[in-house]
């Protein structure tokens, strides 16, 4: 069996597990546990990884991995990033400082991103609340990082496919 990997990372509660569920052909294998951090406002949180699959014929499959969001699990980030074809960074726009959240992942994964491809996705976006999408783009420009920055509802399969399309065209463009 030949395996390929795409990684979903990003802030807690941004919808990494949900995004994988939206496109996986198998029920997503989760390491969700009871969340004890009341500041996060959700019941379950991923502590090791999420795993979904898309088969590409009989002898090949695409693995979709989700990382835990919290920085204290960054050791899992490195384990999971190995050999990834590309990275989707999800940022929960309703959090206190989503710009800073994004910079954590951009910074941590910068080597992987440079070698592969990346799409930044703002989830739960409320356009009436700052920071605007432009602020994320500008922050990335200041750091000389030019990657797609989009807003999406990751519960919607079509939108997750669109995100993966933006990731794939980057990989293809570099061939």
């Amino acid at each position: 069996m030949i395996e390929h990997k795409i990684l979903f990372t990003g802030s807690v509660g941004a919808g990494k597990t949900t995004a994988i569920q939206a496109v996986s052909e198998i029920p997503v294998i989760c390491t969700d546990v009871l969340n004890s951090d009341l500041t996060l406002g959700k019941e379950a949180t991923t502590v090791a990884l999420d795993y979904g699959e898309v088969s590409l014929g009989k002898t090949e499959r695409l693995r979709l991995y989700g990382t835990p969001g919290q920085e204290r699990f960054s050791f899992m980030w490195d384990v999971l990033a190995q050999g990834a074809l590309g990275l989707v960074i999800l940022v929960d726009h309703t959090q206190t400082n989503p710009l800073q959240d994004l910079s954590i992942y951009l910074n941590h994964f910068k080597d992987t991103i440079r070698k592969t491809a990346c799409v930044v996705v703002l989830s739960k976006m409320d356009a009436s609340r700052p920071p605007a999408l432009e602020a994320f783009t500008e922050m990335m420009q200041e750091n000389h990082m030019v990657y797609p920055v989009v807003e999406a509802d990751v519960r919607d399969r079509a939108q997750v496919l669109w995100i993966l399309d933006l990731l794939l065209v980057q990989m293809e463009a570099r061939l």
Partner: protein, 262 residues
């Protein structure tokens, strides 16, 4: 054409100089030290008789009033001086740059000053070239917007385009994602995206007008400044088989995910 400004030491810089009011002994020493110094792969030093030079050396025989008048006359030209003088005089602030050397001249001290002056000229030249490069990019960009650009020009995306720009056409998102991966010509972009050439041109022009792109000179094939991010493929992936393999893989991923376009 523009040289790489970051490699300062590779810049060949010409420095013209003249000498006023100098003792014969100092003049001989000065000229021979500069001649020797100039053979060591440094700047090309060139003696002239006129005052229209990069560096004016003022000798001990120059009267103070004359010194001030020379300095004043050159204030606007950002003139550089080497003054053979016991102690620095307090001078009105201006655009002049002055180095001092104690009389009578000694070779070791003089070489030290020459090095400082040369380094000053190098920095200045590098700044000028950077400025020139910036103007050039601007010129290319303007050409581009007017549609008179060479279609061979490579375009590098400097930032992800605004929501407003991308929303004009739903294909723009994909084309922008491609361009974010590497710099491309119009033809390459049209080929990769399988979108009409006209649409790609319209997109590039919109980007250019918004100042989101950097044009890389078509003729020189040389980048004026490094693009913000460079994404080379790993060397192992470069051979033809691997390339085809990857192409097929991405196609299979599309089929697997159920893209309607695949």
């Amino acid at each position: 054409m523009i040289q790489n400004v970051s490699k300062e030491e590779e810049l060949e810089i010409p420095v013209s100089y003249t000498v006023v009011g100098c003792t014969h002994k100092d003049l001989v020493l000065l000229k021979s030290v500069i001649a020797l110094y100039g053979t060591q792969g440094n700047a090309a030093w060139d003696y002239r008789r006129s005052l229209e030079v990069d560096l004016v050396v003022i000798g001990t025989e120059t009267a103070p009033a004359k010194v001030v008048s020379i300095l004043r006359s050159k204030e606007d030209a950002e003139q550089v001086f080497l003054w053979i003088s016991e102690e620095p005089l307090s001078l009105p602030p201006g655009h002049v740059a002055i180095w001092y050397c104690r009389p009578p001249l000694h070779a070791y001290e003089l070489v030290g000053r020459l090095k400082q002056i040369e380094s000053f000229f190098r920095k200045k030249l590098a700044q000028q070239q950077e400025e020139l490069a910036r103007q050039q990019i601007h010129t290319f960009t303007s050409d581009f917007a007017e549609g008179s650009f060479s279609e061979d020009a490579r375009v590098a995306l400097l930032r992800w385009p605004s929501l407003e720009l991308l929303s004009r056409n739903k294909s723009f998102w994909r084309i922008a994602a491609m361009l974010s991966a590497r710099s491309m010509t119009l033809a390459e972009l049209a080929e990769h995206s399988a979108e009409p050439r006209g649409l790609c041109r319209e997109f590039l022009q919109s980007l250019s007008q918004a100042g989101y792109v950097q044009i890389i000179d078509a003729h020189e094939r040389k980048e004026i400044a490094p693009p913000p991010e460079h994404h080379p493929l790993p060397a192992t992936d470069r051979d033809a088989d691997a390339l085809k393999g990857l192409k097929d893989l991405f196609r299979r991923i599309r089929v697997g995910l159920g893209f309607s376009s695949a």
